[in-house]
């Protein structure tokens, strides 16, 4: 095997094993930073040894045993140092809780491996962390991405991400975040912050907020994978299935929503035969699970139900816009989000005509949260165009383009602005 192939093989093992490995180590050493260091050291050892010995029969157990030995070494050194200083508490290390003694580690390793992923995801998405920190830590600890990969995905310099991760680990230690996996209602209460992070990662891949590429499908895949894993771990949680359904359905359109030159194609213009039917079916199945578990429906399940309306329509003209409006009504009720209200306005315009839609959009113009949101003038421009007011429409679309941060999206808006004088546009702002 060539050197590159060998490294890739070890990386593949790492990707499969690292969440369980780090999660198990966190349980033992009760320190996220130390757990990751130990796991990384085990990986380095694997990279040195496996090329000559071959990948062991059970690579996960091998990595865990190697990391565990390091953990025991570390804790012995730590305890010795503490004895020398005559102190057992308040040391400079960031680990907290009583650091377990070496023999406890031996038993800890065999406990409840199924919880390790969950523990890690709850810690990485802990509410004490900023959203940015949660995203970086989740991709790093659970997605198995390197700092460099995360930096590339979010178009941020690598040191920024590295620092974000270091600071996040410190915050977790200082906040003395508990490492026990909560149960029942306590667990349910912690999930929204996890789901938010997964959907944020997905969305950054689905409609990149910055840069030249409109989509980064790898991020969508990472988020989807984590969502699918989570749904298996907490199968009784409706909103987890709701989020998975939403991501599956949106991902089913990935290959249809970008043109040959990388330009975005909006939902109603997409060739529906290019929608991925495997993902559509998975999405509808996940939605059915979510709906069976919850009354009333939560925000992700409602959004998935809206996406399902599109997935079920053979053509754009078959879309059940009245049902979509009803689902948006429920979603507005639940979220009180102006962005959701804007989406609802689009659905209303499709169901009941552009004039009614425009009225709703106009009511949102002074909304502070939408002040720099490019899709507000984008939608307004489309509705004005439909109503035969091309000059106002063009001005709005140009304003939308000036607000858009993504180059591809800006081009699309400008093209639509140019198109305003020649012919009427129809509003197609859901995607």
């Amino acid at each position: 095997m060539a050197e590159g192939t060998r490294r890739k093989a070890v990386e593949a093992v790492w990707r499969i094993e690292s969440p369980r490995l780090i999660g198990g180590l966190v349980r033992m050493v009760r320190d996220v930073g130390l757990a990751e260091d130990l796991a990384q050291e085990a990986l380095v050892t694997a990279l040195e040894r496996w090329p000559s010995t071959g990948i062991p029969e059970n690579p996960g157990a091998w990595l865990m045993a190697t990391a565990k030995n390091r953990a025991i070494d570390h804790l012995r050194r730590h305890q010795m140092a503490e004895r020398k200083r005559g102190t057992t508490e308040d040391d400079a290390s960031l680990s907290h809780g009583a650091a377990p003694a070496a023999p406890e580690i031996e038993t800890a390793i065999d406990e409840d491996v199924g919880d390790d992923f969950l523990r890690l995801v709850l810690i990485a998405c802990h509410p004490v962390l900023s959203t940015e920190a949660r995203v970086a830590l989740t991709l790093r600890l659970l997605g198995g991405l390197t700092t460099e990969e995360i930096a590339r995905a979010f178009l941020v310099p690598e040191p920024t991400i590295a620092q974000r991760i270091v600071r996040a680990k410190r915050t977790l230690a200082e906040a003395r975040v508990p490492f026990e996996v909560p149960r029942g209602e306590d667990l349910t209460a912690r999930l929204p912050s996890v789901l938010e992070v997964l959907y944020l990662i997905f969305n950054e891949g689905y409609a990149a907020t910055r840069g030249d590429d409109w989509m980064r499908p790898d991020l969508c895949e990472d988020a989807l994978r984590l969502g699918r894993i989570l749904a298996e771990l907490v199968p009784g949680e409706a909103e987890v299935h709701g989020l998975v359904a939403l991501m599956e359905l949106q991902a089913s359109r990935l290959r249809a929503r970008v043109g040959p030159a990388g330009e975005p194609i909006l939902l109603l213009d997409q060739g529906r035969s290019r929608w991925d039917q495997l993902l559509v079916r998975r999405g509808l199945a996940a939605l059915a699970r979510a709906e069976a578990l919850s009354r009333p429906l939560g925000p992700y399940t409602l959004q998935a139900a809206i996406a399902a309306c599109h997935a079920r329509a053979g053509t754009g003209a078959d879309t059940d816009w009245a049902r979509i409006v009803a689902l948006y009504d429920a979603l507005v009720e639940l979220t009180r989000s102006p962005v959701v209200e804007l989406n609802r306005a689009v659905a209303v315009s499709m169901a009941f005509g552009p004039a009614v839609g425009l009225e709703l959009v106009d009511a949102l113009v002074d909304e502070p949260a939408l002040r720099s949101y490019h899709l507000l003038p984008g939608v307004r421009g489309d509705l004005l165009a439909k109503l035969g007011r091309p000059d106002e429409a063009r001005a709005e679309l140009e304003r939308a383009a000036s607000l858009a941060q993504n180059a591809r999206e800006r081009e699309l808006l400008l093209a639509r602005a140019r198109g305003c004088s020649s012919k009427l546009n129809d509003g197609r702002w859901t995607s």
């Binding site: 890739k8 593949a12 093992v13 895949e221 994978r225 298996e232 771990l233 990935l254 040959p260 060739g271």
Partner: protein
Amino acid sequence: MRVMVMVKATKNSEAGILPGDPRAPAAYEKLFQEMGKFNEELVKAGVMLAGDGLHPSSGGKRVRFSGGKRTVIDGPFAETKELVAGYWIWQVKSMEEALEWVRRCPDPMPGEESEIEIRPVFEADDFGKEFTPELRAQEERLRAEIERQRKS
């Protein structure tokens, strides 16, 4: 990336031998259980998108295309080793990851020599510039046609 993972047929799979069959090798007893566990692991890892086992080729048919002529051929088919006995669709990060998962797969055909084949699925990127506006227009026409037939 998405891959199709195919379990190739063997004499036993083509004979339709399932666990419990008196002709089945002893190791078949554990096979269903082990395969079930492996599948569960794949699902729990968010890797498996779909998968199924196939009936022996005696239950299948082939349609041969030759110069505008179509001929139906009844199974079973020869070249057992080239036939597919089951498949998965996996979502993985790399071919190496797919290989690592196959390495963990229990022997699908205990008592016989068998193969598992991994093939990457074409993705939009693979077509690159080939997917021209003309092709797209053609696809749109096709779609409209299907739609027309569906409604009539």
